[in-house]
């Protein structure tokens, strides 16, 4: 049993690595043969050298840390406000009605369209970037939280009522745990949205950060640095999602069918 599981995992890993490997190998080959213009698209081995250098001289770490810090701040603000408003909208029809028209108008606005407004309102420094990340986090957290709360099983609510639970006990012991899978989905989407927002904000206007690395490399015609920037964004996004999925799996242990 265990053995076949391991085999299946290994197979999956092998197949997952196959496509990137083939692409990289043929890319390297075509580059060495001079078929690809190296000043536009350097060979993978050159990019690896450049990556090693950026890690060694601390450039990559510096920019990543700045971006990560912005993400954390924006996420905490947007996620926090989204969670509170989501709970209010989920619990109260009045709040839901009050906010629904506002949500309807603001939600379809693409992140990129917020940037000029935010720069105008908050200046070109940190404020506007963090606000953009906060907005990007806010929507998925708000919508999923309120949906999760509205979705609470009426039958479980009745159990709480029969057992004379207070309003706050109902919220913390019944409603929020019941909505937790939804809330967590909101948080996961919020994190990935925050990560893409920080790049958007930095590409438009920044003097440091992973998005800035990309823009700056483009201006200096350094395609290797540019590619490293882009790939870093992808890898970090992937890692964030993997970690969050693991946390979710732990937290929702009870939700897993028959482990015995």
């Amino acid at each position: 049993m265990r053995n076949s599981l391991l085999k299946r995992r290994a197979r999956k890993l092998f197949l997952g690595c196959l496509a990137p490997f083939v692409i990289l190998a043929s890319w390297e080959y075509l580059g060495r043969r001079g078929i690809i213009n190296l000043s536009i698209l350097p060979r993978p081995s050159v990019i690896m050298d450049c990556l090693a250098e950026m890690i060694a001289n601390g450039q990559l770490k510096k920019h990543l840390l700045v971006s990560a810090f912005r993400v954390v701040k924006g996420f905490l603000i947007g996620g926090g406000v989204g969670l509170v408003l989501g709970v209010l909208c989920g619990l109260s029809n009045t709040w839901n009605d009050v906010l629904s028209s506002l949500i309807g108008i603001l939600r379809p606005i693409p992140m990129i369209a917020w940037i000029p407004i935010l720069i105008l309102l908050l200046g070109i420094d940190e404020g506007s970037k963090i606000a953009l990340i906060a907005i990007g986090t806010f929507w998925p957290v708000l919508l999923n939280t309120s949906r999760g709360i509205r979705n609470t099983d009426k039958k479980l609510l009745e159990v709480g009522i029969i057992l004379e639970k207070s309003r706050s006990q109902m919220l913390t012991k019944v409603i929020l745990p019941a909505a937790f899978p939804f809330i967590f989905t909101g948080i996961r989407l919020g994190v990935s949205s925050a990560w893409s927002c920080v790049v958007t904000a930095e590409v438009i206007a920044a003097a440091v950060g992973i998005g800035y690395v990309i823009m700056y490399a483009r201006e200096l015609l350094q395609p290797d640095v540019l590619l490293i920037g882009v790939l870093t964004i992808g890898v970090v996004g992937l890692l964030l999602d993997v970690v969050l999925l693991q946390i979710e799996k732990r937290a929702l242990r009870w939700n897993e069918a028959d482990e015995r």
Partner: protein, 259 residues
Amino acid sequence: MGMNKSVDILGVSKIFSLDSGDLPVLGKSDFHIESGEFVSIVGRSGCGKSTLLRIISGLEIATTGEVQIGGRRVERPSVLTGLIFQEPRLFPWLTVEKNIEFGLHRKIEKTQRREVVEQHIALVGLSGFEEAFPRQLSGGMQQRVSIARTLINQPNVLLLDEPFGALDALTRIHMQNEILQIWEAEGSTMILVTHDVDEAIFLSDRIIVLSDRPGEIKKVISVDTSRPRDRSGPRFMEIRREIYTEFFEDSSLSIEYYV
């Protein structure tokens, strides 16, 4: 002990207002249940049995009339009136232990709390399953957790809404015996809704037969044999026939349909 656990149903009726108009579910009913009595309610699906139990528990408000428990009008749900639903309704994110502890209403200190919970886990025969999640339990075990969660407040009145409906025949008989034991130990007033006529006869002092919707009390049958009852004894058979006649007197069709 000596506490009045009688239940009075006084002129209770229920009409649900739907978009499509009014739906009378319960006709005016009056009934007195003695303190410590075991009463079953039988009737066809949809005749308002659950609604009646919900009104007695305070979860639903009667359109007319009122329910009194121990001579006092029921205004809202109370942990002293336990309601056990047809489905176990456990919190899937809590272990057996935590689910039962959730029921505990009175504020007591932690060690005593654990003790009371442990005691009730043992009462329903689930020792060793403290840390299990509901998903890992069979339907019968889940229903026992639900019963323990209700019993932990030592309710004066226990309302059971087809609690064993979803269980297989053998588990059901086992649970019926356990309920009898609990009833004898706790001395609470029991009101059991069931569609299983044998279950009603096996357990109850009296059986209320409700008419089709809107449900009204059509007949009350006293089960005058001593417990434990022989499910195939002559008196048992006689009462069973009496109840079946009640159900099928108005339509000869249903006999073929049900038997």
